[in-house]
């Protein structure tokens, strides 16, 4: 009998749990919770006798960005190996149960204090939590052929996942606003009134909208970070920006830069209009009519991410912070300057758009009215109407102040905030096969360690420190990030280069260099977040197949107009696809290229695509059309560069000219949204 056994264990649900999100907070916390649970399994294996964790390689107390597949070698008999695997599962389930109990008992039951209602909630809570976590593992013998053994273990885990057993559920009544699957928690009365009460009982008005009703699974995801629950690993150190804040991060960055540039009166005027806008916005939240009674007071000074404590909670974009920190230390900024900067960083992106800076948005974050809407409907409605009546002129003033600020920003060539963001999903190519191709465990561990280092260091640096973005997770080669449109392509290119460099001393199962494929989706900030995440993952899959791996795929989902999907290899020879698109972007934003070029490319794809016309003839036609769309007075050298860039794209897409049209459209889209900064 073999002396060594291999355990492969994985937990879930992963993709569905992470993507079930109404706001970015859910997205980040979903990922953090899964990582935290996996850590329990890893931690158990690390402390088990005769067990050696091969993947992932993490420090004993690490809990974040842990991939959800664990490989352990056990130098003992099969019975011991199975017992260790079962205990790893047990440790993971125990941690989930403990977290669930703590969220319920230490937090939810501080809001719901009636013991009868607590009993009712517990009865609803338990089956939801008990049936949620999936954990699969296999144990196989390790023979002299380590590579073959790991390959076999991974295959058997695949087989185990094919036998995807599931527990029964019985979910009655209204379903969870986030998952749409579990029943919402409620007392013996109406769930609407119950969640109305919960919204006001909990600490942070911005953390639960008035329409949201949640199940146990979503309550854990939404509130696990609260200090009362007592989980430091899940606490939110830096506020998660909303989708609109990600979209407007580049605008904030430009405003900061312009004000801190010290451009005399221009900077001073911009600062003044910004302060005025903030003041007008804050005024919206002050109830001036004494007839309006609220359930709890607003404690000035307030931020725009309201909490009962009234403390500032700025959004975290290290690139913007770095900008202001440098300036502050150089200029020895006054408290007043620090104050406006903090306030500015607290403002959600929603407030920079005319269609979301509306009474409904403002009212959402105001304390609830004192009259009970169920028992005294008339009085509640009366006070609500009064609130809206007072709010409307204040919102109009805030909108006017916003316009004024945008006018002054235009003097610095700052474009109005644009409403799109990018979601990036990157995954190493053939990683399963690569991980199964090592001839010994030490090589395997070394590779695991390299992946862990990549996830811990460079990924965050590239996404958050060097660009305007936030990392959702980085589990080895697997990355998900939210990015400003301005930086999405840059980040994609840097990540894949960095990844390839980090793993360059290893080869994949074919003996070739290890590469990564990336999918990016550009979506409007009001786009359903769950479907946006799915689109990013689907773009990533598109980059692999039919993109052929080592490729980039992009989905452009405009709010109106046709969705577009494109893919291309990162590089052909020395030429890089990102560089080509960025060059086109520059020419579009400088008005060197006419905005109708994508339509021309579409016509050519329609008339000359599908192999009906020789490619050389098509190229000639494209060249002719491009030259018509180049602005007069453009130097010949630039004209040649433009033609060469597009012809290069044509050569990469000989089977589908529509792909060329899509890339050109993407370049124009980014140019229109972000200019050339």
């Amino acid at each position: 009998m073999s002396d060594n056994y291999l355990i492969v264990l994985t937990i879930g649900p992963v993709q569905s749990y992470i993507s079930q999100a109404r706001r970015t907070h859910d997205l980040f916390q979903g990922s953090s919770i899964l990582s935290y649970l996996t850590a329990a399994g890893v931690s158990h294996a690390q402390g088990a006798e005769n067990a050696d964790v091969i993947y992932p390689i993490i420090s004993p107390n690490a809990t974040d960005n842990i991939p959800n597949r664990i490989v352990v070698r056990v130098s003992d008999n099969e019975t011991s190996a199975k017992a260790i695997a079962a205990d790893m599962e047990k440790a993971t389930r125990k941690r989930w149960k403990q977290l669930s109990n703590d969220v319920r008992n230490k937090l939810f039951f501080t809001w719901v204090t009636d013991s009868n209602v607590q009993q009712i909630i517990t009865e609803q809570w338990k089956p939801q939590v008990d049936t949620w976590l999936e954990c699969y593992w296999v144990v196989v013998p390790e023979n002299a052929n380590y590579k073959g053994s790991v390959g076999y273990a991974n295959q058997m885990l695949g087989a185990r996942k094919l036998l995807r057993d599931f527990q029964p559920i019985h979910e009655t009544g209204r379903k969870d606003s986030i998952t749409g699957e579990q029943s919402v928690l409620h007392d013996e009365q109406d769930d609407v009134a119950f969640w109305h009460y919960i919204k006001n009982a909990q600490r942070n008005l911005a953390l639960l909208s008035s329409s949201e009703r949640l199940s146990a699974i979503s309550v854990i995801k939404r509130f696990a970070h609260e200090r009362n629950v007592g989980y430091e690993a899940l606490e939110i150190k830096n506020r998660y920006p909303s989708t609109s804040s990600i979209a407007t991060a580049s605008f904030k960055y430009d405003i900061f830069k312009a004000i801190l540039s010290g451009a005399g009166m221009k900077s001073a005027n911009l600062l003044q209009t910004l302060k005025n806008f903030i003041r007008r916005l804050l005024e919206c939240y002050h109830e001036t009519d004494k007839r309006i009674q609220t359930k709890r007071p607003i404690n000035p000074p307030i931020d725009l991410f309201f909490t009962t404590d009234g403390y500032f909670n700025p959004e975290y974009f290290p690139k913007i912070s770095a900008l202001s920190e440098v300036q502050l230390s150089e200029d020895k900024a006054s408290e007043d300057e620090k104050y406006w900067q903090t306030q500015f960083m607290c403002i959600d992106g929603d407030y920079f758009f005319e269609d979301t800076l509306i009474t409904k948005t403002i009212a959402e974050y105001m304390p609830d009215l004192a009259p009970d809407p169920d028992k005294n409907k008339q009085e509640y409605q009366k006070q609500y109407d009064l609130r809206i009546k007072h709010l409307k002129p204040k919102v109009a003033l805030a909108q006017k102040a916003l316009k004024n600020m945008l006018n002054h920003a235009a003097e610095f060539d700052i474009l109005p905030p644009q409403p799109y963001l990018a979601i990036l999903a990157m995954d190493g190519d053939h990683m399963g096969k690569t991980l199964s191709s090592f001839t010994d465990a030490s090589q395997h561990k070394e590779f695991s360690s390299t992946l862990a280092d990549f996830a811990r260091g460079p990924v965050r640096e590239i996404v958050e420190d060097e660009h305007l973005g936030r990392l959702v997770y980085a589990g080895g080669d697997d990355v998900l990030a939210l990015l400003s449109v301005r930086h999405a392509l840059d980040v994609a290119e840097k990540l894949r280069i960095k990844f390839a460099n980090e793993v360059k001393s290893f080869k994949n199962h074919k003996g070739e260099a290890i590469s990564a494929s990336t999918g990016i989706v550009f979506v409007h900030h009001t786009h359903d977040l769950q479907s946006a995440i799915r689109a990013a993952k689907s773009a990533e899959a598109f980059a692999k197949n039919p993109g052929g791996r080592n490729a980039l795929a992009v989905k452009l989902l405009p709010r109106s107009g046709e969705p577009r999907e494109m893919s291309g290899k990162w590089q052909s020879g020395d030429e890089k696809i990102v560089a080509k698109v960025q060059a086109l972007q520059k020419w579009f934003s400088n008005d060197v290229l006419g905005r109708n070029l994508p339509q021309d490319m579409g016509r050519i794809a329609y008339e000359m695509g599908g192999g009906t016309v020789p490619i050389d003839a098509t190229k000639k036609e494209i060249e002719r059309v491009i030259k018509r769309r180049i602005a007069e007075g453009t130097p010949d050298s630039v004209k040649i560069e433009i033609v060469e860039a597009i012809i290069w794209l044509v050569e990469q897409h000989t089977d589908s000219l529509q792909g060329v049209q899509h890339w050109v459209t993407l370049a124009r889209f980014i140019a229109q949204k972000e200019g050339m900064r």
Binding site: L162, P168, G173, R174, K175, G180, D528
Partner: protein
Amino acid sequence: MTWFSIQAKDVWLFRDGKPFTAGEDNSARSMFPPTPLTVQGALRQKISVSNGLSFSDYRASKNANVDAMIGSYEAQKTQLDTGNFKMAGPFLGVQSAEDTIQPLFPCPADLLFHNPGEKTQPKESFLITKPVTHMVSHDLSYPTERNDSQESLKDLRLLQVYEDYENLPQHWITAKTFLQYLDGLTPDSKVLPDYRNYPRVSEYLDSGHQILPADALYQMENRFGVSTDSATSFREEGMLYQAQFVRPDQDVVLLADVSGTHEDKHVKGQITLGGEQRLATNESVEVEYFPSSPGTISGQFKIVFLTPAYFRKGWLPDVNWSSLFGGEVSLVSAALYRPLKIGGWNSASGKNESGAPRAMHHYVAPGSVYYFKTNETIANPPITITQNPDKIKDAAQIGFGQVSYSTW
């Protein structure tokens, strides 16, 4: 039994369980095909209306014959009772250029396709996998706190898997090819060609292709709307919503095999289906290649679910499998797709009998395969294998749990 083909005359809306209210939960998603619950409701309503009964007449139980045909309103308050009405399906169907109709079934979960993700031609495009011959230790076979009670699972075997082969969720197989699969033959296709090169599904199939991705059969259409104030007819601030509708290809229909004491002519004609009561027409048709039940089963056999099935322990019944087959059988393995979450709406419950959502349960997804062995020869094995969820009198009678048999 009479086959009916239900063809869309508009886009359809079959919402999942997620709440949907403009300005609150402002995004609705659709599922397709609809569940048996949706289709049986629409057809029973059609029978009621064809017999001259409006919904309020039906509620008032004005015609005892209709009550017997489709189940009385009163009975629905405690559980779904469809009277003499029986239905198999719904299945997807595709009309060929010659106007014949054959069903489409979800690709069986043990039919594996070679997908290396690169533009290389595989030697064998498809494989039908089966349980491995040796035991592999896994979590389900290990007695833990969670599965201690599942003594019968200790010998549960895993399936053989192959590098670069995976099953095809969200893909459909023609009934003709499905019959070959039941005989142990794999589809002829070497590749899954791009359906977008074919203007119609029937043309794709006429070219000899047998596997269709879901995108080829129907498209999801997102439509935006904004709520208006009923008093002023003005749009309301912040009340934008988005609903996802389904647009089936023009050759694609829903098929349901219906029987009972009603007359067929009362099922035909225009019906409304799903959310927003969107239009469809319903015609009786002849269906080709529908698999028939084997006279007997013995030795190593497997069942493939063609419609969703409910079991009280999730993927397992809370009774011995043998009691469902009418002979001694034991479970060897299974290949399962992700479970479906099915709830639905009960028009005869809720406050003031205005209707209320049914409880949502996990159902075994169509295409899932269970492997068994028996030492007996079981005659006339059941064509439906399912249990009844709460408040549904007979799930098999309205289309749940339809199976086909094969050997392994």
